[in-house]
Amino acid sequence: MNESKTGASGRGALAELKEAMGNLFESVLGLAPDLGIRQEFPRHELKVEDDGYRVRVELPGFKREEIEVTVAGKSLAIAGERRRFQAPAGARMLRSERPAGKFDLNIRLPGDVDAVAVVAQMRDGVLEVRLPKQQAHRGRSIRVETNEESASEKATGDEASGMPWEGGSPDHPSDTGGA
């Protein structure tokens, strides 16, 4: 499963036009103009897995403290800011393409998540957020209790009341499997 509804990776005609324009400018002027690149930034992806969702966001050069991850209901918000690169004094900028400024991603999750168990990790400039589904939505197998287990639990809980169907009382013979 692989979804990227909100992703910049789902390239529209506008994105292609922008890139074409960018290439044109670059070839004519030798410069890449800032054509609203922020909208394309950062590239990200939402994947649906059996037990949860996995969101990955490309955030090269970002430090942990420059990223804020918030989960509220079915919405995951990732915000941050990267400063525009400043060349040393006297240097001539030949290209300035790396996106800078604030970004604010809002990703709609397909289902409820266990907000307490959400984990975010930054590795090699990629932020990965793992959001386990809420147990009720997980569709996981339910443990079926056996006779013995429930009996022993009750036995330890309230010994005095006894179990009339157990212990071979004459009136209530224990299960003989009569069929």
């Binding site: 992806e45 994947k47 490309e58 040393p88 240097a91 393409e97 400039g125 990629v126």
Partner: protein, 131 residues
């Protein structure tokens, strides 16, 4: 061909594996992205900064062949999974100045690559002392 950086750099589609190399090229066109770069130049050096999120040092190759600088980075494991994110990054530049090839250095940290290319002394402007 000059290899920049340390000896740990891995050659994608290395020698002795032409079929793999062809496959790499095909896949790269489809799944590799063009990284955004900042480039600046001073009297003594040119510096390239490239966004390569997900790329580790061991999967990075920077080559300078004649006047062409090639940056290529692969993301470990990305191609084995279903992902709409790039499998890696690839970009080439043609360089006009002459550089001191032996002193070119690359360094990647947190998905940002920095390549420093010291200019050959002949390229550097003559310094005129002013009083």
């Amino acid at each position: 061909m000059d290899r920049i950086g340390d000896d740990e750099l891995r050659d994608l589609g290395g020698p002795g594996s032409p079929p793999d190399a062809e496959r790499e090229t095909r896949l790269r066109r489809r799944h590799y992205a063009r990284p955004a770069v900042d480039v600046y130049s001073t009297d003594t050096e040119m510096v390239v900064l490239a966004d390569l999120p997900g790329v580790r040092k061991s999967e990075l190759a920077i080559t300078l062949e004649r006047d062409e600088l090639v940056i290529e980075g692969r993301i470990t494991g990305r191609e084995e999974e279903e992902s709409s994110l790039p499998w890696g990054y690839h970009r080439r530049f043609k360089l006009r100045s002459a550089f001191e090839r032996d002193r070119i250095r690359g360094h990647i940290d947190g998905g940002v690559l920095e390549v420093r290319l010291p200019k050959s002394s002949g390229e550097q402007p003559r310094k005129v002392a002013l009083d």
